[in-house]
Amino acid sequence: MREFIENFVQPHFNYWAYVIIMMIGLWALIAKRNLIKKLIGMSIFQTAIILFYVSLGVKDGATIPIAPHHVAGDHADAHDSEHAESHDDHKAHPKPVADDYSNPLPHVLMLTAIVVGVATLGVALAVSQSLFKDFGTLEEDEILEQIKSGDYYD
């Protein structure tokens, strides 16, 4: 057991965490009958995906993806770095080293995912509110019952 944890869980614990959180979300999405609980499940699922992406961008010993800004002679440098594009070996500033900064791309993608998550959650809450106005319940099976028995169309 200890060997299993050291070899398989420890170097990949971020993936284990995301799989487990995702399973909780998926369970809530499939098995729960209450629509609000389904939405909570959807949010947990999204969180798992966000955790997965952000943990992919982690590098050992790296800092946040914000490079230090030029402090002095900002505008004079603008000319220098224009030249630097053509003469790669001669530079006023050392180029940032990729291994020193964590991967910015997953952060960007997850920023958009969070925003879409807010949008979908808002629309889903609006739909469930208008469902509640029509049916007086948010339980999925009760709503289906009402539709089947034809009460809704009266």
């Binding site: 799989v19 900064y101 791309l105 920023l111 807010v118 949008a119």
Partner: protein
């Protein structure tokens, strides 16, 4: 039914766990996403980290990738936000006055009109300007420090939501009316797309901020990109602020924009 769901969840989970052993280790700098594939050159993220400062003069690489390299993505992202706001408007908004008008004599749309709310009113009066100032800082410094249009917009929207929660929705609506927030949401997209179209007048591509160098009168295109990114972030912040408040106002009042929670 429940055990069927359990089987589905466990099957999905075990398939993913099975795939986990092929994934790169935690914190590995040489994984395909971080370090590129062998024999295929650098990965795109390495290029972003190394070239962003030279090409855009924006220290915050995340903002640079968001607003410039992936400009189209972010523009339509903002459109998605607007579309969500419009969808909520279409689903919930009640345009006809169904209920009897609220007793106007009791209603006082000032923060501390009600004596029982004097603590809440005073706290809001002190806190909301600070929140809004911080939101503006987050937007304006989005390309130098952590932050940006989405984050600052959400904080700004939250300040209006706090007002609506602490007093009532009418107090918040009196300061940020429906006409204003729908207009502001559209203006935000217009600003974003405007920066894109502006580049086309100089014969360059859509959202090619380097073309705006004559307008910003900077030395060199990188600084122009930096300024254009700030403008674009302001547009994003407008839309996000307006839609966050619109979502709250519609959900809290069942689409009537009255009374609220």
């Amino acid at each position: 039914m429940k055990w069927l769901a359990l089987i589905a969840v466990i099957a999905t989970g075990s398939l993913l766990i099975y795939a986990v052993s092929d994934f790169p280790d935690w914190g590995s700098a040489s994984s395909p996403a971080n370090g590129g594939v062998e024999g295929a050159g650098r990965s795109v993220s390495q290029t972003f980290i190394e070239e962003t400062d030279t090409l855009t003069h924006v220290p915050n690489i995340v903002t640079a990738v968001l607003a410039d390299y992936r400009g189209y993505d972010t523009m339509f992202e903002t459109v998605v936000i607007l579309a969500a706001g419009m969808a909520i408007f279409a689903i919930l908004r009640v345009l006809r006055d169904t209920e009897k008008p609220v007793d106007q004599s009791k209603h006082d749309p000032s923060i501390d009109g009600d004596h029982q709310r004097i603590i809440i009113g005073t706290t809001c009066r002190l806190l909301i300007p600070v929140i809004q100032l911080f939101a503006l800082y987050v937007v304006a410094h989005g390309h130098h420090s952590p932050g940006g249009g989405f984050q600052g917009g959400v904080i700004l929207g939250a300040s209006f939501i706090l007002l609506g929660l602490a007093t009532d929705l009418e107090t918040a609506i009196a300061r940020f009316s429906e006409k204003q927030f729908i207009g502001l949401a559209c203006v935000g997209i217009f600003i974003y797309a405007g920066f894109g179209v502006l580049g086309q007048f100089y014969g360059r591509g859509f959202l090619d901020y380097g073309a705006l160098q004559p307008i910003f009168m900077t030395d060199g295109e990188p600084m122009a990109r930096s300024h254009a990114m700030l403008g674009v972030e302001v547009g994003v912040a407008f839309t996000v602020t307006a839609i966050m408040f619109a979502i709250y106002a519609n959900l809290a009042s069942k689409g009537e924009l009255k009374n609220g929670l």
